[in-house]
C-alpha cells in the first residue's frame, strides 16, 4: 500500500494554529478541512463513546491533515492509529459499535475501502436485517474520494455510487463547508452505518462558516442555486464545477437550478423531481464513470417519476470510461469539466 502524498499539510498546520476554537459558533473564515476537524472535535468533546480510528489519524495527523492535533487533545485511546489492515479496523469499528461505542473510522481513500468491502457490505449493512432488528450498527466511516489531483488510476476513483447501491447503508457527500461542519453530528446520532465521502479537491476550499443554522436533515438534497430553465444535479467534488457552469449559463441567458444531492443513499427524490418538474430539463453531473453510475440512477428516477414533465432527454456529464490517467491534460479530459456541463445544459435547453 502506498500512502497518498499531499502537499497541502503546511497550509493546514498554519490554519490549524489559527483556529482551535472547537465548537465556535461565530461566523468565521475557515476551510473544508478545518470544518471537518471542528466537527470531529465537537463529537469527541460531547460524547465519550466517540473515538476516531484509522491509518495515520494520530501521530501523522491524518493523511489529508483532517485530524491534525486531535491526538494531543484526546490521547491515543480515542485517536487510535491502526495497522494497515482495513478489513480488521473497519470490522473492529462495527464490533465496537455493536458494543455501544460510536466509532468514527477513517479509511484513507476510497480505493483502500475495497480491502474492507466485505466488512462494510456483509456485516455493517446486513447485521440489523439478518438479526431481525436486534443489532443496529451505529458506525461512521469517513473516506476521501475522487480525482483531479493527478493521482492516477489507483487513487482517483469515485466509488460512492457502489456504496449507494447497498441497502442498510447511509451514504453522504458533503460538498460545502457547512456540510463538512454539520453532517458528522447527525451521522453519529444515526443508529445505522453512515459512510461520508469527502472529495479530495475540496479539503482546501475556504469560505465563511456561519453560525450553525438549522441543519438540513441527512436525507435531504439542497438547492444551491435556483433557476427556471434546466436542473443541474450533482454532488460532492462536482458541485463547484456545476455552480461555475451555472454562472456561465446565466451570462448566456439560461437560468440553471443546481441541486446538490448531499445524501447519495437515500436519494431525495422529492427535491430532484420537484425541480425537474419546474424546469422540464435535467443534466446529471457525476465524476464517476457513466456506466452503472449514480448518474444513471438519478436519470432513471427522473424517467420514472417526471417523464411527462421532460421537454428534453436527460443528459449526463460523467467521467470518460477509462482508468483515470496521470498526465494533467489527459486527466482533465477524462473528468467532467465546466465546459462539458455548459454544453450539455445548452443542448438540453435547445
Amino acid at each position: 500500500m502506498t500512502a497518498v502524498n499531499v502537499n497541502d499539510r503546511t497550509a493546514t498546520e498554519k490554519a490549524e494554529t489559527a483556529s482551535r476554537s472547537g465548537t465556535s459558533a461565530a461566523p468565521h473564515k475557515t476551510t473544508y478541512r478545518e470544518a471537518l476537524r471542528e466537527a470531529l472535535r465537537e463529537a469527541l468533546n460531547t460524547d465519550g463513546r466517540v473515538f476516531l480510528m484509522g491509518e495515520d489519524v494520530g501521530a501523522y495527523g491524518g493523511c489529508f491533515g483532517v485530524s491534525l492535533g486531535l491526538l494531543e487533545e484526546f490521547g491515543p485511546e480515542r485517536i487510535r492509529d491502526t495497522p494497515l489492515s482495513e478489513s480488521a479496523f473497519v470490522g473492529a469499528g462495527i464490533g465496537a459499535a455493536l458494543a455501544g461505542m460510536r466509532p468514527i473510522v477513517e479509511i484513507m481513500t476510497v480505493n483502500f475501502s475495497l480491502l474492507a468491502l466485505d466488512q462494510i457490505l456483509n456485516n455493517a449493512a446486513t447485521l440489523l436485517h439478518m438479526s431481525g432488528g436486534q443489532l443496529p450498527v451505529p458506525l461512521v466511516i469517513r473516506m476521501t474520494t475522487g480525482a483531479g489531483r493527478q493521482l492516477a488510476a489507483q487513487h482517483s476513483h469515485s466509488l460512492e455510487g457502489w456504496y449507494a447501491h447497498i441497502p442498510g447503508l447511509r451514504v453522504l457527500a458533503p460538498a460545502t463547508i457547512e456540510d463538512a461542519r454539520h453532517m458528522l453530528a447527525p451521522a453519529l446520532a444515526d443508529p445505522d452505518p453512515v459512510l461520508i465521502f469527502e472529495h479530495g479537491t475540496l479539503y482546501n476550499a475556504s469560505g465563511e462558516l456561519g453560525p450553525a443554522a438549522e441543519p438540513l436533515p441527512l436525507d435531504r438534497a439542497a438547492i444551491r442555486r435556483t433557476g427556471t430553465d434546466v436542473t443541474l444535479i450533482t454532488y460532492g467534488g462536482s458541485l463547484p464545477k456545476t455552480l461555475a457552469a451555472a454562472d456561465e449559463l446565466a451570462a448566456a441567458g439560461i437560468s440553471a437550478e443546481v441541486v446538490d444531492l448531499r445524501s447519495l443513499r437515500p436519494l431525495d427524490d422529492t427535491t430532484i423531481i420537484d425541480s425537474v418538474v419546474r424546469t422540464h430539463r435535467a443534466v446529471v453531473v457525476d465524476e464517476a464513470w457513466r456506466t452503472g453510475s449514480l448518474a444513471a440512477e438519478v436519470s432513471a428516477r427522473i424517467g420514472e417519476q417526471a417523464f411527462y414533465s421532460l421537454d428534453a432527454r436527460v443528459r449526463r456529464v460523467c467521467s470518460a470510461e477509462v482508468p483515470i490517467p496521470y498526465a494533467r491534460e489527459l486527466e482533465a479530459a477524462a473528468l467532467p469539466q465546466v465546459a462539458d456541463i455548459v454544453t450539455a445544459a445548452r443542448e438540453a435547453v435547445g
Binding site: 478489513s87 480488521a88 470490522g91 473492529a92 462495527i94 456485516n123 438479526s131 432488528g133 442498510g168 445505522d192
Partner: protein, 351 residues
C-alpha cells in the same frame, strides 16, 4: 489427536488446580448439551430432506465437544461471534431449540425473525452476535466487541469461533495482529475440522500447525483435542482466566472432525470413508457417555431421561416452528435501517 502441546496444557491446568470440580451432575450437563446438539442436527437432516428447511445448512455433528466445552468457560456477559456452522454454538449458548428451529423454518418466532436462516442465528440478549456466512468475516467484528470492552474497562471476553479455512483468510491475520497489538480480551477458537469445505488442510496451508502460526502474532496459542469435551473445557477455562486477567488474546486450535458432509448438498468425494470411520470411533458424544458410565457418573436410567428430555424438546421445537406464524410480507423492508422503515406499499406508492 492429542499433541504434546495439549498435554502440557492439560497437565498445567491440573497442576494449578483451576479446573472446575467435575461433579457427576456437571458432566451429565455437558453430555446433555452435546446430545441436544446431536439430536437437533439429526432432525435438521430429516427436515431438510423433506424440504421443510431450505437454503444452506451446515451440520455440526462430530464437533459438539467444541461448542459445549468452550461455552463452559464463558459467562453471560461474554460475547460470542460465530460461523455459518453455528447451530451447536447457538444451542450451547442457550438459544432454545425452538427459536433456532423456527428460524430455519423462516418463522416470526425464529431468533432472527426469519431473516437469517440456518447461517445467521442471532440473540442480542445472550450476546450471541451471530452466524457469519463469510469465512473469517466475524473475526474483525469480534475484535471490535473486545475493543469496546477494553476501552470501557469491562472485564469481559469475546469468543470468536472460526474454522481452519479462515486461517487462510487475510481477515484472520489482520485481526490476530490487531488483537495482539492492542491486547484485546479476545478468545480465538479455531475449530480445525481438517477441511475447508472440500479442501484438506494440508492442501491449502503450507504450515498446518495452526496454533504455531497464531503464536507468531505474539499471543498464547494451544492445540487441544476437540473430541474431548472435558479437555476443551479445561483449555477454554484456562484461556479465559488469562484473558480476564489482562494477558491479551488467546488462540485455541481445537482438532475435531465433522462426521457429515460440508453441507446438505455435498457428495463428500474428497474424503476417504475409512478416515470418516476412524474419526467416528472418537465420537465425542459416544466416548464421553462411555467414559461417564465407566466412571460411574451416569446411571442408565439417567441417560434415558436425558434422551427423552432432549427428544421431547426437539419434537416440541419442530411442532412450534411448524405452527408459528410467518413474518408478514408487508414487513419485507423492516430492519433495513433502524428508522421507521419504508414499507413495501410506501415504496410502490413512491414509484
Amino acid at each position: 489427536m492429542t499433541t504434546k502441546r495439549t498435554d502440557r496444557a492439560a497437565s498445567a491446568t491440573n497442576r494449578r488446580g483451576t479446573a472446575r470440580k467435575a461433579t457427576a451432575e456437571h458432566r451429565q450437563k455437558l453430555l446433555e448439551s452435546m446430545l441436544r446438539i446431536r439430536r437437533f442436527e439429526e432432525r435438521s437432516v430429516e427436515l431438510y430432506s423433506a424440504a421443510r428447511i431450505r437454503g444452506f445448512v451446515h451440520l455440526y455433528v462430530g464437533e459438539e465437544a467444541v461448542a459445549v466445552g468452550v461455552n463452559e468457560a464463558l459467562t453471560e456477559d461474554d460475547a460470542i461471534v460465530s460461523t455459518y456452522r453455528e447451530h451447536g454454538h447457538a444451542l450451547a449458548r442457550g438459544l432454545t431449540s425452538e427459536a433456532v428451529m423456527a428460524e430455519m423454518f423462516g418463522k416470526v418466532t425464529g431468533c432472527s425473525h426469519g431473516r437469517g436462516g440456518s447461517m445467521h442465528l442471532f440473540d442480542a440478549s445472550r450476546r450471541f452476535y451471530g452466524g457469519n456466512a463469510i469465512v473469517g468475516g466475524g473475526l474483525p467484528l469480534a475484535a471490535g466487541l473486545a475493543l469496546a470492552d477494553r476501552m470501557n474497562g469491562r472485564c469481559r471476553v469475546t469468543c470468536c469461533f472460526f474454522g481452519d479455512g479462515a486461517v487462510a483468510e487475510g481477515e484472520f491475520h489482520e485481526t490476530a495482529n490487531l488483537a495482539a497489538l492492542w491486547g484485546l480480551p479476545l478468545l480465538l477458537v479455531c475449530e480445525n475440522n481438517q477441511y475447508a469445505m472440500g479442501t484438506a488442510l494440508d492442501r491449502a496451508q503450507a504450515e498446518t500447525d495452526l496454533a504455531l502460526r497464531a503464536s507468531s502474532y505474539g499471543m498464547v496459542a494451544w492445540a487441544v483435542d476437540g473430541m474431548d469435551v472435558e479437555a476443551v473445557e479445561r483449555a477454554a477455562l484456562r484461556a479465559t482466566e488469562a484473558i480476564r486477567s489482562g494477558s491479551g488474546p488467546h488462540f485455541l486450535e481445537l482438532r475435531t472432525y465433522r462426521f457429515r458432509a460440508h453441507s446438505m448438498y455435498d457428495p463428500d468425494r474428497y474424503r476417504d470413508k475409512d478416515e470418516i470411520e476412524r474419526w467416528r470411533k472418537r465420537d465425542p458424544v459416544v466416548t464421553f457417555a462411555d467414559r461417564l458410565r465407566r466412571e460411574h457418573s451416569l446411571p442408565t436410567a439417567r441417560l434415558r431421561d436425558i434422551e427423552n428430555r432432549v427428544g421431547a424438546e426437539i419434537d416440541h421445537a419442530v411442532e412450534a416452528a411448524d405452527l408459528a406464524a410467518a413474518e408478514p410480507v408487508e414487513d419485507l423492508l423492516l430492519h433495513v435501517t433502524s428508522g421507521v422503515g419504508e414499507t413495501r406499499k410506501e415504496e410502490e406508492a413512491r414509484l
